[in-house]
Symmetry: C2
Subunit: 199 residues, 2 copies
């Protein structure tokens, strides 16, 4: 594991995806590993940290997730633009050498079943909370986050630091047809004196 | 309705939120209107277009959504940074003049029950698909998108055009503690010759 990778407190895990980045979803089952790109992943709860992800029935990754009940979500960087695109537009079903062809590098962390993608900025280990109706009707998977890590060069003390990191660390935000945006500049709103939680 | 607002084809509605912006959620029921900010909204399907949104049980907006089965999702702009922050940190429950104090301006579109927030870059009219288990257990709401619009100054021909619009039009991406990022610069990945759909 890269020496820049640091654990993130589970209560702050949502922050790794709160800004809506396109993510990579990885899983392994019975000797098969796969990685796909997905724009439809979203935080669901703070504590325990949970998230949702949409996995189409045609995807091989979904089979691996259903088989192992584990997956990893990771935040790819601008340096991984082409990798992210390639992993999102090729299928292991039709291209058995998808992973080799893409050049993706996987690694494992002790205690976690799913493979992680090297070179990303943040990683979330996830365990599926089985909800057959959601999975069948909406392709919607709910999972609990059981581990979180980030690269210290771009996420420190519970906050992203895109503005001071090299531009290659920016997260990717996919629209359609190969069109991505990188995350941009920081904006800080003022707290209201009377601010309360809720809405 | 502002003359720059144009309908977006429903099949392209997902593109309005695909890049993961923080959104404003508005609803009205029995004479009460409310708007809240939310980072946890996500596309769920292309056709029919569906999305998910997380609505905490303490939020007044949730009551209005449950009462009317309708809401609107809109994409606020960098010019609306403070408005977005204020709408996300004050509650109509404890601050009855929340909307007036925030300065938010609402408008209606014929045929749609929920109010829309003026000055945003994109709007999605939504109808709740009632899923009691998800709503109760996870605060998770699934909805179908029944109408979509965008401001032509920043979204044209089915694509965002942040790079050529004024910076005030950039979408907001919330982290935590008042820390937002604006969406950044465009990145374009190359299509693989053998690219297929799926993953």
């Amino acid at each position: 594991m890269d020496s820049y990778i640091s654990p993130v407190e589970l209560e702050n895990a949502y922050r790794l995806i709160n800004h809506g980045p396109t993510v990579l979803i990885s899983a392994a089952h019975r000797g098969v590993e796969n990685v796909m790109a997905a724009a439809w992943a979203c935080a669901l709860d703070f504590s325990p940290p949970r998230l949702t992800v949409v996995l189409d029935k045609t995807s091989r990754t979904r089979e691996l997730v259903e088989g192992s009940s584990r997956f990893a979500i990771q935040v790819p960087t601008a340096a991984q633009l082409q990798l992210t695109r390639d992993l999102g537009t090729t299928s292991l079903v039709t291209e058995p050498c998808k992973l080799v062809d893409s050049g993706v590098e996987l690694f494992y962390i002790d205690g976690y079943e799913a493979p992680f993608v090297a070179g990303c900025s943040a990683w979330l280990a996830c365990e599926v909370i089985v909800e057959p109706h959601n999975q069948k009707t909406y392709d919607l998977f709910i999972a609990e986050v059981t581990g979180a890590w980030a690269d210290r060069r771009v996420f420190q003390d519970g906050h992203w630091n895109f503005e001071n990191a090299e531009p290659q660390w920016r997260s990717l935000h996919y629209i359609a047809g190969g069109q991505f945006y990188a995350i941009g500049e920081p904006l800080r709103a003022q707290a209201k004196e009377s601010a309360t939680a809720g809405a």
